[in-house]
Symmetry: C2
Subunit: 193 residues, 2 copies
Amino acid sequence: MPPETLTPQRILEATEEVLRRFGPAKATVVDVARALGVSHGSVYRHFGSKAALREAVTDRWLDQSHTRLSAIAGAEGPAGPRLREWLGAVFAAKRRKAGEDPELFATYLVLAAENSATVERHIAVMLGQLAGIVQSGVERGEFASADPMTTARAVWDATVRFHDPAHAAEWGRAGIDAAFDEVCELILRGLRV
Amino acid sequence: MPPETLTPQRILEATEEVLRRFGPAKATVVDVARALGVSHGSVYRHFGSKAALREAVTDRWLDQSHTRLSAIAGAEGPAGPRLREWLGAVFAAKRRKAGEDPELFATYLVLAAENSATVERHIAVMLGQLAGIVQSGVERGEFASADPMTTARAVWDATVRFHDPAHAAEWGRAGIDAAFDEVCELILRGLRV
């Protein structure tokens, strides 16, 4: 049986497993190559450096929910419920990542801190989707906004407690869902014409 | 000249100075007594334990701006501008504490983490003032709110980026004031009838 082809996807999966096992401080490209049964040169042919590999794995982790969120943002129908659904999906995705595997979450926080450009790209994608919903709300006569991107930023900032990892410890507390509902309701009232 | 009377106020000032000098991990009651030129027994007559002393100094630090904020909250006139002024004063006070003396700020974050009941009392006072402004807005026919305390909590949560120490590193960034203005504007629109 020929060995499985070495793809970027397989390397990134092995990298996550190695990070989970050794922690972000100790994990090396040699560990990743060993987990895959290949030489570290083979890994370097796909990712030119350890830094590039760590950036790519961070990117993959941050982008996990982009497709689903993008589908919600681009759906038809009233913008109000769509914005509410999108904010709920962002909160749910962050919460799932933090709750299901807290150690891996902590690892990715370390990686995110060392790849701030990657995080900024991720936030730009989020803001772009939000601005799209606001824009469609303006076009449908539902929302008032002089500049959808500025409004998107305000909505993102006003919901920071429900998506910024700095608040992850609060996401399991009693009353957090009610608190989220109230903030969303306040924002939606603020957007309506 | 008789020695200055040992008051709780003097002890708390000396405690802050000792915390600043030795850090929260090393500062002791003996250090505080030495700084005041008294026996540690004299300190214990005012604060029964090291924990009680640390709690009292945390309380003093958290309460620093309560009087000014309380004056804004209880002022006459339209509730909208008053809410805006109150939120701005909270942000300004937090920012000043974080910016003027970052080491002392870090020290107080350690103390706050070990005195969560004190922090909760502080937040309860903040929410009470906020709810008072919302209530007066409802009475004046400016704001819509089924329950001022629930609304106060939503406003507090929606502005978390501008008062939670977890975001202190963002408070010096370019654009933070504009971001704060936009969030306040969104909230105020959401409150208006």
